[in-house]
């Protein structure tokens, strides 16, 4: 028996039939809502006893239908999001409740009362679950469950147990579910107040912690929802003491109720706009010419004016900005995050954007794939700028290094050979005067002068070797490196090519080895150094490794930095690996052109 496949693909026909089923359900729900709305209208207007019958009927139906319509719209657009169905059902249940309440029978009154209460509980559900339609966390689930239990079960049972009839006041019933009305102070009302308090706290907390992007989605819905819940509560409280005032606030709550579906629609339009913005971006990209325009276009498409772009430079394995300056990606946990952009498996750039855009991965993906080519172009531009900056800096460092070298030479000549020659001159003068007076005491003076002459010669030789090693130009790299190895206090194991390399390459290698051996002698406390120079495939590769203490600083030390510049000037690369306690490895790679 074969094992089941890891990936299950859904046949296209299934998807289509499921879509057809959902479409059928929407159509049925829509028709039911329309019929119930007509029924409410006929029943309310037909009931001559009801005050403000027309207005009441129009408002009730408007509320029901606006929830129904916006719910169906959300449902049609996002089938995976259950909030659309919930909003549409809310509208239908509210209309059903209003219609049942107008029928006139006792059962109808009970049914209407319960249904209107259920619609209010669903409204709490919608507010808590917006915009994903899902309840996350125990607090949200407990709050919504408490709303349903209180309004749909506890309130009717409480009234029935007390022998009260369900209140019947048409639309006011919708706006003032009974726990706030006739039974204020009783258990269902107390629970309802706790639920509303919990809801207010939850919405405030969500708003407080929301990122800017999420706030934009939440703003209208929370504002309208919060306003009408607040007005409902106010209506219920005021109604106990001042009937007309309560009614007025009730009307205001009704208008606020109508605004909630509009706010939901606005949310939908906003996300549609986000999609449209990708199309707009594609058009904008055609005209992106000036540096910085791409960032603006992308920021506009993503709705994030704080968007920053970082371009990948593979040579340095780091990001730079458009001007080629090093760019640090934001830390984990900051208000901005980075999304990597890749083309053909190669890293191109990073979009550093508001953390809330993580909630819109499709938008990010659409935008980054649309802008891939433009980002690649800007990356090349940034890389070039980074190169130019590098060149400018290394050129300045080379000039500076040359100046320092001249200063060092002057000081060495002044403190060394020149000093000795002056001393010799004075001694010879002394010899001169001594020869006149007591010739035999001149002998030790002459010996002293000879000694000084030997020292001066040695110092001049050392200096000349520092300026340029004659053995390197005369005999080539092998003998020159052997001479370096022979002078090194740390034992050196050397292998070098016998053939001659281009003169600048030989010089660069010589100075790398010379500096490395000098560093080993000064700092490494090593017992052994290996120096390997190979000439293969038109490249010279140098590897120097010691078993010392490590910890050399390639970027900070002027010696290694200068060598890196010298090698970079030959289009080569120098790499230093010197972890503390693990010795130092220097690797240089130079093309032999």
């Amino acid at each position: 028996m074969s094992s089941p496949p890891a990936i299950v693909s859904v046949p296209a026909a299934d998807v289509r039939s499921r879509a057809r089923e959902a479409g059928g359900a929407r159509w049925s729900l829509g028709m039911l809502g329309v019929l119930l709305g007509v029924a409410v209208f006929v029943l309310v207007v037909g009931d001559e006893g009801a005050a403000n019958a027309w207005a009441s009927a129009v408002l009730t139906v408007a509320i029901g239908w606006s929830f129904l319509a916006s719910g169906l719209a959300v449902w049609a657009r996002e089938e995976a999001n259950p909030i659309g169905a919930l909003i549409a059902a809310l509208g239908v249940v509210a209309l059903g409740g209003a219609a049942a309440g107008e029928v006139g029978s006792a059962f109808g009154s009970w049914l209407g009362f319960t249904a209107v209460n259920a619609a209010v509980a669903m409204f709490v559900h919608v507010l808590v679950a917006f915009p994903t339609g899902r309840l996350t966390g125990r607090t949200e689930r407990v709050l919504v469950a408490a709303a349903y239990a209180d309004l749909v079960l506890l309130a009717p049972l409480w009234l029935a147990a007390r022998g009260d009839a369900p209140p019947r006041d048409g639309m006011a019933g919708l706006l003032r579910p009974e726990p706030f009305g006739s039974t204020l102070g009783a258990l269902p009302a107390a629970v309802a107040i706790v639920v509303l308090g919990g809801l207010a706290w939850l919405l405030w907390r969500r708003w407080y912690w929301a990122t800017r992007h999420t706030r934009r989605t939440l703003a209208l819905v929370l504002l309208a929802g919060g306003a009408c819940l607040g007005l409902m509560l106010a209506a219920a409280v005021v109604d106990r003491t001042w009937d007309a005032g309560g009614r007025a606030i009730g009307w205001a709550a009704a208008v606020a109720f109508c605004a909630v579906p509009l706010a939901l629609d606005a949310g939908i339009i906003r996300s549609r706009l986000a999609r449209a913005s990708v199309a707009e971006l594609v058009r904008d990209l055609e005209t992106v010419r000036t540096p910085g325009a791409l960032r603006e276009a992308l920021g506009h498409a993503l709705g994030d004016p704080t968007l920053r772009l970082a371009y990948w430079v593979s040579e340095t394995s780091g990001f730079v900005d458009l001007r080629g300056r090093p760019f640090e990606l934001p830390w984990e946990g900051s208000s901005q995050v980075a999304t990597m952009v890749e083309r053909d498996g190669r890293r191109v750039a990073a979009l550093v954007h508001d953390a809330s855009l993580r909630d819109a991965p499709e938008l990010l993906e659409a935008v980054t794939s649309a802008a891939g080519l433009a980002l690649e172009n800007e990356r090349l531009h940034a890389e070039l700028r980074a190169h130019v900056d590098d060149l400018r800096e290394s050129r300045a460092r080379i000039v500076h290094a040359a100046d320092s070298e001249r200063r060092r030479l002057e000081r060495n000549l002044h403190d060394g050979a020149q000093q000795r020659l002056v001393a010799m001159s004075l001694h010879l003068r002394l010899v001169e005067s001594t020869l006149r007076t007591e010739p035999e005491s001149a002998v030790p003076l002459v010996a002293q002068v000879r000694e000084q002459l030997t020292e001066a010669l040695e110092e001049l030789r050392e200096l000349a070797r520092g300026i340029h090693p004659a053995i390197l130009s005369d005999r080539g790299l092998g003998p020159a490196l052997e001479a370096l190895a022979a002078r090194s206090p740390t034992p050196v194991e050397l292998s070098a090519p016998t053939e001659r390399l281009p003169q600048p390459v030989e010089a660069a290698i010589y100075y790398v080895v010379s500096e490395a051996l000098a560093n080993v002698a000064k700092y490494a406390q090593a017992s052994h150094v290996t120096v390997e120079v190979a000439h293969t495939n038109g490249r010279a590769v140098v590897a120097i490794a010691d078993d010392g203490v490590g910890g050399a600083d390639a970027a900070g030390g002027s010696g290694l930095r200068g060598l890196a510049d010298r090698i970079a000037a030959l289009d080569g690369r120098l790499h230093v690996d010197s972890a503390p306690g693990r010795g130092t490895r220097i690797h240089a790679d130079i093309p032999c052109i």
């Binding site: 002056v422 001393a423 001159s425 004075l426």
Partner: protein, 123 residues
């Protein structure tokens, strides 16, 4: 009475050589100092006939030593010296209050004595 001299230079071997040379040529080296401030102090204590000062010193330089000596009472004439030549210092030597500049390689008792005679002549 041999002319009395103080030598200020931060190189002990140079000090020793110059002392030997000048003493052979009839000078009395009454004081030596390895830095500028000590040099000024030693000159004040010993009241020499002449002070030989190296331009390059570890604390204050030779020009500053010359200024301080000249500001003191009964200031002895100061002679600047250096491994470098006079041109290397531009107009600094001319504008200083030093009696003269002698390159180190040219220091002799005769040259210094000549400066003292010049002073005696002008006095």
């Amino acid at each position: 009475m041999p002319p009395r001299i103080v030598i200020v230079d931060d190189d002990p071997s140079f000090l020793a050589t110059v002392r030997q040379l000048l003493e052979a040529e009839g000078f009395a080296v009454v004081g030596e100092a390895l830095n500028g401030l000590d040099g000024v102090a030693v000159a004040a204590e010993t009241a020499p006939d002449i002070v030989l000062v190296d331009v390059t010193l570890p604390d204050i330089d030779g020009f500053e030593v010359v200024e301080r000596l000249a500001d003191g009472e009964n200031a002895p004439p100061a002679v600047l010296t250096s491994i470098r030549s006079a041109e290397d210092f531009g107009s600094l030597i001319e504008t200083s209050r030093a009696r003269a500049f002698i390159p180190k390689a040219d220091i002799t008792g005769q040259a210094l004595a000549g400066l003292l005679d010049e002073r005696a002549g002008t006095a």
